[in-house]
Every structure is written in structure tokens, then in C-alpha cells.
Amino acid sequence: MGDLQIKKNPKQYDAIVVGSGAGGGMAVYTLAKAGLKVALIEAGPMYDPRKNQTQFKNPWESPRRGASTKFRPFGDFDACYHGWDIDGEPYTKKSGTQWDWWRARMLGGRTNHWGRISLRFGPKDFKRKSIDGLGDDWPISYDDIKPYYDRIDRMLGVFGSNEGLENDPDGIFLPPPKPRAHELFIQKAATHAGVKVIPSRLSILTKALPDNKDRGECMFCGQCNRACSVAYADFSSSSVLIKPAIATGNVDVYPNAMAREVLTNAEGISTGVAYINKDDMQEYQVTGRVVILAASSCESTRLLLNSKSKRHANGLANSSDVVGRYLHDSTGAALGGYLPQLFDRKRYNEDGVGGMHVYSPWWLDNKKLDFPRGYHIEYWGGMGQPAYGFGFGIESMNGKHVVHGKQKEAGGYGASLKEDYRYFYGASVGMGGRGEAIPVYDNRCTIDPNVVDKYGIPVLNFDVKWSEHEIKQAKHMKETFKEIMHEMGAIITWGGDDGPENNYGLESPGKIIHEAGTARMGNDPKKSALNKWNQAHDCKNLFVVDGAAFVSQADKNITWTILALSLRASEYIIDEMKKKNL
């Protein structure tokens, strides 16, 4: 480290974007297409599923047959680099609290492997405080964001069905795939139990987009979590936004660049970003007219809090002291088992799209319930590609059910056992709820005063707890799931015995990987970090376009709304630049 020095990049950019996931990708794409010069700072390596392919690979091509590793927590074929635990990049928690923090480190971030569940927030989701008195209303309404949802539906592609539901708005949908066999059983049973089941809404091209020759039609391999290499038929920021943005010639990507802080001048205006290059471990600075953070809610928050100066003594854009607060994740609980109707089933290619073909949007009225807000239900099952864990626990199944007319003893070996594996294959079924938590002032992350990562950057300390609201929601989920399983005669093998002792199987906060709320937008600069354009109240040329900007996150996965808001903010930036306000 003898000659360690800060290397300043002489190029002056129009915009510096930190992070290349949904929010960053849309910003880079929109600004580059408008002719602005953009620097993209990404903490991980370049990634393109055409070069970095795991799609269409067989289980035996992984020595661990697709099991997870620390580097790929969702399995050896999953297209997300890193996850819960990164060497040399710790985070800490207040004792007695829980937070699990997923961090992707790659071009495109988590969008390379995400579930592609692309739900619009509804009119009520922006005005929750007005409805139930909890949390806060957004400074925008559904009408403000609707045109942007419409545009990203057309630009990125999403399938679904127009149902005319009050709080699950219709969209510009491609045709949905037909339900699979287990989904037809679910549809029937859930409807009996009073739970609405409709086609899912996923950003996967069941038909090619009319004006896009770079992307093709879905090939129904069920592997969107491996990122679509052949057709780019699923929405990944890397292949759908960043790649065409780079093709404009207006984007410089800085991969393996870990942002350290946002630089500001004496007037408190941001001037650029300081980062460490992981390849040569040298310190660099880039300068630009506008800085846009999209590093994920908590990484963007960490950057803001670590960017202290005379003008921003409490961290950048944090005179309100809300940065880091209102941290919340979706609630989640699940259970599963198998459907005896599907024993000894006909074999055919059932992969379908990478995810469920049907789902249940929230269907109840909270006035009649003991908890606020709702959840949607996701379903899975059927004849998937075998992977590590296949066949485990056969001894708890093969003594219980008659196989080809024979009642067998549990366990065993030999040709008879092989018959059992074939007989039970493809009968699994499961479901999980994803619900809305109440953002709470005291649920927060702060900078740990004592701990730095291997780059010397101070790390986050988390202090988050679920409340009764979320626990009661999980209880309701489990009751509903059991009813649906019972209704279709399914046998529950896991998740059926949860009770108050474990919060009814409610996942610890962070586990659903939908963190949001830590630099929320609002009209009052004393109570919010950003205005309704994702622009910092305290620093006009600083924007945050990831989940941090969210006031609340509805019972809808947040990606589609991150994309819509990032598009909206990016066009606002272009406009303001034209008007010389930025």
C-alpha cells in the first residue's frame, strides 16, 4: 500500500449511477437513450447469461447436483452471485433482533435470478394511512404512476389477465400460460375455500414483443432463475436494460467497483462518487452532474450515512434523520406436501415458465380481520428437474400409500424402492404468502461505530423486529394454506405444525429479500429523505431510485414499482437538466 493514492477520473459525466439492478438499470437505460453520458458503478463483475450460462444444464453438470453454496445460496445453477454472506463484507445486528441481508454482486444484481413477479401497486397501496391510520401515505397516487406502469409493461413485457380488481390494477398484458395440473387442483380447491386464483403476472415473454428484435419468445424451460441466455425472454436488468444502454455508446461501466461515498462540495451539492476497485484495490473518484443511487435499499442507505460532510453532518440527505428508518421486508410463510391425485402421473414436459402460472391476489377485507394489510399467495409443485435433495425422506411416504395396488412397508431398498420413486415423482405441491408489513420508525439500520468491511467502509448495524401485525398475518396465512391443502386432499409434510412458539412460521425480516423504506419519499422534508421525484430534499442533484424510496411496499413484489419510479425519476432528471435546474 506504499503508493496508495486517489485516482481522479478526468471525465465529467452527466450522471453517475451506483448499482445496476432494476432501479439502476432503468436509470442507465433511460438516460443513455436520451444521449446523456453515464458512468455505471457496479460492485460485482460483468454478467451476461449468454456467456455465463447455467440455463439448459443438467443436474449432473454440478458436482453437488444443484445444491446451494455460500456463493450461490439458491443453488448451483442460480444466476445470482453471492447472497446472505460475503467474505470480508460483514454486517451486524442489535442483540435480540433479526435481519438477514441478501446482497447480489454482479451486473444486473438480483434481477438475474428474481421471480419475475411483476405486480402493480393499487390505488389503496399509496394511501394506506388514510385507510387504516398506520404508516404514511405516499406523496403520489396510483394515477401519477399508472402511465409509467403502462410503459414498462410494453417496454419490458409482462403476462397476466385483466380482472378489473380494485387494488390489483389491470395492465398491458401478454397472454398467460395455461395452468399446470397441480395448479388446476389448487384453483379448484382455493376457489372452494373462498380464495380467488387468477393467472400470475410475470415479466416473461410468452409472445415476442412487437418492437424488440433483441429478445425472443419464452422457451418454457422453467429456469428464469438461471437468467434466460438464448432468448432474453425474462426481464433481467443486465440483458434487457444495461446491454442496449451500453450499445448507445453513452455508458461506461465500472465493474468490481465498491462505492465508498458520495462526494459533495462546500455548498452540499453532490459532485461524484468515490469507489474502490476490487481488482487493483486502488481508490478512484468519478465526477458527474447528477448522482443516482440504486445499490439496493440498504446499500444506498449505507452510502448516504457514510457520506458525511460539514453540510450533511448526519449523513447525506439526512437532515430529517429518517435515512435508515422504516426498514421493512415482505412477510413470508409457507407450507407444502404432496397431492395423491398426482401419483403415477403421465410424463410430459411441464417446466412451463420460470414460476407459477396462477396466483392469488389479496382477497379479503381487513375490517373483518385482526390484522392490517394483506398478502398474496404464490404456488408451486409438479414435475421439476431433479436436484440435490430429490428422494429424501421416502420412508415417510412409501409406507403410507398404496403403490400399484400394493401396501408396502416404509423404507426399503431395491427394485421395489425404485418403483416408489417413480410413482411419487411429480406429486409435490406447496404455497407461500407474501404480505405487507407496517413500516416502523424504530425499525432501522445505522452505521456500526466499531466495524468496517475489508475495504475500510463502515458497515450497517440492523435493529428490526416484527410486530403483532405481521405475526397475525402469518397465522392467517397458515390457516388459509391448510384449508386449501385440505380441500384438495393434499398431505402436508412441512410447515403445518407452526404455532405461536415460532410466530406461525413467519420468516425473519430480510428473508423475503424485499427490503425497502430506508430513504422514503414524502412532501415534508422533516419526515422524508426524498421528494416525490426520488430527489433528495437536502441535495437537489442526488436521487435514490431503488426500494429505499418506498413509503410502504404493499402486498406486491416491489420490482415493477421500482422500475416505474426509476423511469419517472430519470425523465424528470432529463427535463430538469434541459431547464438548467440540474
Binding site: 439448459f56 467497483a257 420413486y421
Partner: protein, 223 residues
């Protein structure tokens, strides 16, 4: 897209200059992607591996946990659990012992239950037959396997053996059904480009299911 242009855009500032230059030089060759993973070891893998994965997996694959004696025992047990039948080959045909040898290195939690279970089995055999399991004749081997392969009717004093055999059965089945032979045996028909037009009519009928009019009219259809 102009590949040179995009490479240039990618190259600025960070990636070691050598790697970038190399990519440019290779940009007209077909298998440039292989080179970009920048390690000779990468050729062992047919799936995307980051540098840290290549290093870790190469190291794991060079290690051995089981002794030759243990491996011989595992192979016999694996073929008792999954023998050749009229549909497919046996566990050893599918390379299950090698898989088990790797997986206990990858998942060290399996090491003690496997090693201890194998020793439990050998001690039983020594006491009963004066020979370790692998040297017993087939009748003797099956006698002891029958004591531990049926969890519901096994004697309580054999509970540890049952637990071991359950684990052995799990690892054998997983190794077998994730092999080429096993995937074919199961009849898994996916993992290839395809168009989804719904559940085949005969299966739909057999299951007592049907698509609604709405689904028939509005869901995606393919020729």
C-alpha cells in the same frame, strides 16, 4: 450490437487491462467466452463458474474423505438400494459412490453420520459374522440390511443403524436420480426448448380436470 464498441464501453477504468486486451484479441474467435473465465481449470466445468467457485470446487474435488474400505462398503450399499432393474442401471452404473464421496466434502455435516454409520455396520458384522460388511457374503449382508432398512419394524436396538441407512438411502437416491441414467429413469421430460400448451388432453381427462372457456380462449397458444 457492435461487439468492439460494447467491449470498449465495458473496459473503462477497472478490469485489469490485460484481460480486456485479451478479450479484444479473441473477439473474432468463437470460443472467446471460455477464455474470459481466465483460468485453465474452468475447462472442467460446463456451467458458469465465477473465479472463486472454480478455486473452491477444484480444491474440493481434489480431496477425498472416505477410505478405500469405506468406499467399497458404500458401493455395495448403494447397489442394494438402487440395483439394476428392467428400467435402468444401478447406483454404481450412475456414479453414485463418487457423488457421495464429493458431497460429504462439500457438506461436512454428512461426514460423521456417514463414517460413524459405516463403522456401526462393520461392528455389527464383525460381532455376528466375524467379518466387516464388505467381506460378508450376500446372504449375511442382506440379513443386516433387513435389520435397518425398515424404520417402522426395526428393533429399537438397531435405531442408529436405521438412521444411517435412511441417510445412505437419501444420498444414494439423490445421487442416482440427478445422474443421466436416473433422470431418464424418472422420465423427466423438460430442460429443453419447448412450447407449453397445457396439460395433455388424455392426462387432463384421467385427472378429472379441464380448462375453462376463458383459459381456452385467452391463454397463450402455440402451433
Amino acid at each position: 450490437m457492435d461487439r468492439r464498441k460494447s467491449l470498449k464501453a465495458i473496459a473503462v477504468g477497472t478490469l485489469a487491462a490485460g484481460v480486456v486486451a485479451e478479450s479484444c484479441k479473441l473477439s473474432d474467435k468463437k470460443d472467446e467466452t471460455k477464455k474470459e473465465t481466465d483460468s485453465a481449470d474452468a475447462s472442467k466445468f460446463t456451467i458458469d463458474r465465477a473465479k472463486e467457485e472454480i478455486e473452491r470446487d477444484t480444491k474440493l474435488m481434489s480431496q477425498k474423505f472416505f477410505t478405500e474400505h469405506e468406499m467399497a462398503t458404500i458401493a455395495i450399499l448403494a447397489d442394494i438400494i438402487i440395483p439394476k432393474d428392467d428400467v435402468s442401471g444401478s447406483a454404481t452404473d450412475a456414479g453414485v459412490p463418487a457423488f457421495i464421496d464429493f458431497i460429504v466434502i462439500d457438506m461436512p455435516d454428512h461426514q460423521t453420520p456417514m463414517r460413524g454409520g459405516l463403522r456401526w455396520l462393520d461392528m455389527q458384522c464383525l460381532q455376528r459374522f466375524d467379518k466387516p460388511f464388505k467381506d460378508c457374503d450376500q446372504k449375511q449382508q442382506m440379513e443386516i440390511v433387513d435389520d435397518i432398512a425398515w424404520p417402522k419394524k426395526a428393533k429399537p436396538e438397531n435405531a442408529q443403524g436405521v438412521a444411517f441407512f435412511n441417510l445412505m438411502r437419501n444420498l444414494t437416491a439423490t445421487g442416482f436420480y440427478t445422474s443421466e441414467i436416473g433422470v431418464k429413469d424418472l422420465g423427466y421430460a423438460g430442460n429443453s426448448p419447448n412450447k407449453w400448451n397445457g396439460v395433455p388432453d388424455d392426462e387432463l381427462k384421467r385427472l378429472g380436470l379441464s380448462y375453462s372457456e376463458w383459459e381456452m380462449k385467452n391463454c397463450a397458444k402455440y402451433d
